[in-house]
Amino acid sequence: MDRAATGLGGGAVDGALPVQGSAVVPAPPARPAAPPGPSLAERLLDGIAEGVVACDAHGIVRSANTTAVRMLPDLRVGELSVAAMQVLRTAVADAPDADADAELALDGRAIAVRRRSQPGGWTAWHLRDVTEERARLDSLLAERARSRFLAAASSRLGLSLHPGRTARAVAELAADELADAAVVVLPVHGGTVDWYRCEHDGPSSVGRASARDLPGPVARALAGLDTGPQLLLADELDAEPWRRTGAGVSGAALMALPGNGKPAGVLVLLRSGAGDGATAASGGPDVELVEEFAQRAGIALAAASLYAGQARTAAVLKRSLLQPDLPLVEGVALGAAYRPAEQGMLIGGDFYDVHPDPAGRGATFMLGDVCGKGVGAAVSTGRLRHSVQALRRLETDPVRLLDLLNDTMLESTAADDDPGFATVVIGTAVPLESGGLRLRLAGGGHPPPVLVRTDGVETVEIGGTLVGAIPSARFRSRTVDLAPGESCVLYTDGVTEARGGIDGREEYGETRLTDLLVGCHVMPAAAIAERVTLHASRWNSAGARDDVAVLVVQAPLHAAPQGASRRHLHSVRAAESPAGGEEGTA
C-alpha cells in the first residue's frame, strides 16, 4: 500500500489533472492547510474500489490509484507502461468511439473497463472488478433456467395419462435440455419393452425391443437393482434404440425413473462427445437437474401406467355394456342411435338390441330404459339384455317373452336391493311376400313407437305395465304392417322429455317428434335414428341430459342385390365405437 502510494506520489499531477478536479474534490473550506504527501484527490481515489488510470495525450500514465495498480501491477506513473496499457487498449480495440466499455479477464477475474476521453487529449480509464457480480448473475440465470425447465417439464408431464405419450414427452424434454438424444424405456411387459427416442431438436421414434437384448445396466435399472445414475459403455451403444447417429455418440448416462415401488422406466441420455470430452466425462449438464427431472418423469409415468391399468379393466367390463352393432337381417333395414347422459361413459340406462331369427325369418328387436342413470343403470341393462337373449330361445312371442322377462327380473331383484324395473318394447319383424314387414309389438310401460308411413305418421299405443315391478304385470301386443320404405321408430323418453325451449324447461314432446318425422319415409333407417337424436340433443339446451336411444325398423325400399357383399354396412358402426378401435397393448 505504501509502495503504491509513494509510487503514485510526486505531486506533479496534483492540480494538473485536467479532470474536473475541483468538482470531484470540493475545496475543504474550514481546513487551513493541505495535507502533506499525496494530494487529497489522489488519496480519495486510492480509497475507492474502482481502479482509475489517467494517461496524457502521449499515452504516458499520469495517474493510477491503488486499485488500478493492484489489478495491473506493471503500471508505472510517469511511464508509458506499454504492457499494462496494452491489455486495456486491446479490450476496447473494437469500440468505434473514443468512449468505450468492455470486459476483460485478468488473472481469472472479470474486469469491466470503461474508457473516457478527457480535455487536452487525456484519457481516463475506469476499471471495476465484476467477478462476483457476474458469478451471481450466472448462477441466477442458471437457476432460473433450471426452474424454468423443471416447471415446463412438470406442466407437460402432467398433461397426458397415456403411458406412451408421457414417455414420449419425457424423451422430448430430455432431448431438448439434457442431451443430444434421449431414450425412454418402459418396464418389461411380456418379455418386451417399449422405447421412445427423441433427437435434440429432431424427430422422435418409437419401437419395441426384446428384454433379453437390453444392455446390462438398462436391464438392472429397469429391474430396480440400480437406482442412481449409471454409464453405458460405447460397445453397448450399437443396437437400437441407442444407436449412435451422425457425429457419433461418445457416451451415455442412464437413470431409473422412480415409480410406485419399482421403476416406471429408464431414461438414457446420449451425448455426442465429438471434441468435447469434458462435457461427456463430467456427466453432462448437471446431475442434480437430471435427478430432479427423473423424479418428476417417474411420477408422471407411474400415474399414467396406473391409469392405463384401471382404464383397461374398465374397458373390458364396459365392453359387454356397450350398445351392440346392429346385425344384418335379410329383408329388414335397421338403424340406431345412442347418446348416454354421462358423456364420457358411452354407457347408460337406455338400451336396444336386435337378434336375427335363427331360422332366417326376420328378427326380434327391443328397446328400453331401466330406471336410473350411469354405471348402475348400465349394469342393469346388461343383465336385462342377456336375459332376453337367453329367453328368446325358449319363446319368440313378444307378450310371453315379456312375461318371462318380468318373472326373471323380479327374481333377480329379490336377491339384491336393486329396484331394477324397466320400460321396454319388444317386437318381432317378419318380412312379407309383398316386400313389406309385419311387426308384432309388445310393450311394458314404454312411450308409444311412431310409424313413419308414406302418407304421414301415426303412433302405436300399446300400453302395458312396467317390466320387473309387479308379479301380475299385464302386457299386450299390437300387429302392424309396414309397406316398403315405411319405418317404425322406437325411442326412449330421453327424446320426448328433453328439456329446452325458451326457458329451458319445456319438454320436446311427442308432437314435436311426430312433426319431425313427417316426410321422413324417404330416409334410410340410420338417417331417421340420427335425425331424432340430433333434434332431441339440440332441443336439450339446458345442461342436464337424459340417456337417449332410438331404434328404427324399416321395410327396405331397395332390396339388397342377390349375393351382394353386405359387410360394408358393418364398418359404420364399428368405427363409431371407440372401444372397437385400436386397443392398448395388453
Binding site: 407437460r156 424427430p203 335425425r531
Partner: protein
C-alpha cells in the same frame, strides 16, 4: 374440400348415376358404383374426394337452392356416409405413419366430411379411429388419455360451434395431444382455427394428409390460458340467450323467421331457428369477428331468396336482438353490418358454406 384438378375419366362417367342413386336413397346401388371404381383401380382417396365429396357439395347446393327438402338432403347424406364406410371397408388397415383420432366437435352433426377425412388418412397409411359426430369434450379427453394417439383431427362444418370448439381444442391439448383442425366452420382460410390456438389447420382431406406428413408432431406446448380470448360480451350474450330467443319468437307471434310457403321451410321450429341466429351472433362475438355474422346472413339471405321466403321475419329477429342487446356495442355493430347483407341486390361475394 377441393377436388383434384383432373379426375380420372372413369370417375366422371359414374358420377351422374351415383348422384341419381343418392337422390333415390338407394344405398346398394350407390355403394356398388363406388366400390366398382375401386375395382377399376381408382385410388380410394379419389373416390372419396372426387365422387363422394363432390356429391356432398352438390347435395348442399341443391338444398340451399331450395330444390331439395331437408329430408331428401338427410337421406342422400346418409347414403353418402354408407358409401364412405363401404369404400373404407376395402382400405387395408394403416398404421405405419402413426395414429390419428378423428371426430366432430360437440354439437356438430355433419359427420360426412370427418368420415371422408378418416378414410383418406387411412388410405395414406395412418391408423385412424373415427369417434363419430358430436363428440363431447369430456369423452374426447378420456379417449385421448386412454389411447394416446399422435394427433387428434377435429372437424367443424359451421362456425356456430366455434365456442364449443374452443373447449374441445383446449381439452385435447391438455392431454398433450396436438390438434389438427379442418372444415369450413373454421373459416375459408382457417383463420378461426388459428385464433382458437390449434396446432395446424387443413382445408380438406388431401391437404390434411400433406399437413400430417410435414409436421413432426412433437410435444404440443401446453395451452396458455387462451380462454381469456373470449370476448367479455359473449358471457353476457349467453346469459341472455333465452330472453333474446323468446323476444324474437314473440315478435313473430310464434312463427319461424325462416317459415315460408308450406312444405318449403328452411327450418321448422321457431325457437330453434331464432336460436340459430342468436348462436351465430354469439360465435361472432366470441371471436370478435363481425365478418362471421355478416357471412352467415349473406348466406341465409340467399337461401331464403331461393325459397321465395321474405326476409321480413329475419329483419324482425334482428330488430329484437338489437333492442335486447342495446348495451353490447360489438354485438350491435355485428347486427348493423349484418342487416347490410340483407339489402336487396347487395352482394359482396360473401362466405360460401
Amino acid at each position: 374440400m377441393t377436388a383434384p384438378p383432373t379426375l380420372p375419366t372413369r370417375l366422371e362417367s359414374v358420377a351422374p348415376e351415383f348422384f341419381d342413386a343418392l337422390g333415390r336413397a338407394d344405398e346398394w346401388r350407390a355403394c356398388e358404383l363406388a366400390v366398382g371404381l375401386l375395382g377399376d383401380g381408382v385410388h380410394p382417396a379419389d373416390v372419396l374426394v372426387g365422387l363422394v365429396g363432390a356429391a356432398a357439395r352438390r347435395i348442399g347446393a341443391l338444398w340451399e337452392a331450395g330444390e331439395w327438402s331437408v329430408a331428401q338432403e338427410h337421406a342422400a347424406t346418409c347414403v353418402n356416409e354408407r358409401v364412405v364406410a363401404a369404400v373404407g371397408a376395402r382400405i387395408p388397415a394403416g398404421g405405419a405413419r402413426g395414429s390419428v383420432v378423428v371426430g366432430c366437435l360437440d354439437g356438430e352433426w355433419h359427420a360426412l366430411p370427418a368420415r371422408i377425412v378418416s378414410e383418406v388418412l387411412r388410405a395414406n397409411g395412418w391408423a385412424v379411429t373415427f369417434l363419430g359426430a358430436s363428440v363431447p369434450a369430456e369423452h374426447l379427453a378420456s379417449y385421448l388419455h386412454q389411447y394416446g394417439p399422435d394427433v387428434v383431427a377435429l372437424s367443424c362444418a359451421l362456425p356456430i360451434h366455434l365456442p364449443a370448439a374452443h373447449r374441445t381444442i383446449v381439452a385435447a391439448q391438455r392431454t398433450g395431444t396436438p390438434v389438427l383442425a379442418g372444415g369450413p366452420g373454421f373459416g375459408a382460410d382457417g383463420r378461426w382455427a388459428r385464433r382458437l390456438g390449434v396446432d395446424a389447420w387443413a382445408p380438406g382431406p388431401v391437404e390434411a394428409v400433406a399437413v400430417l406428413d410435414q409436421q413432426p408432431w412433437r410435444g404440443a406446448a401446453p395451452p396458455v390460458a387462451t380462454i381469456t380470448a373470449a370476448s367479455a360480451e359473449y358471457a353476457g350474450l349467453t346469459e341472455r340467450r333465452g330472453a333474446l330467443v323468446g323476444a324474437a319468437v314473440d315478435a313473430l307471434e310464434g312463427f319461424s323467421p325462416f317459415a315460408g310457403p308450406p312444405g318449403n321451410p328452411l327450418g321448422s321450429d321457431p325457437v330453434q331457428d331464432a336460436g340459430q341466429v342468436v348462436d351465430f351472433l354469439g360465435a361472432a362475438v366470441y371471436l370478435s369477428d363481425d365478418g362471421l355474422f355478416a357471412d352467415y346472413l349473406h348466406w341465409l339471405g340467399s337461401a331464403l331468396g331461393a325459397r321465395d321466403i321474405s326476409t321480413g321475419g329475419l329483419h324482425a329477429v334482428l330488430g329484437e336482438l338489437a333492442a335486447g342487446l342495446h348495451d353490447f356495442p360489438f354485438a350491435l355493430s355485428c347486427l348493423r353490418q349484418g342487416r347490410e347483407q340483407l339489402r336487396p341486390g347487395f352482394t359482396n361475394g360473401g362466405g360460401e358454406r
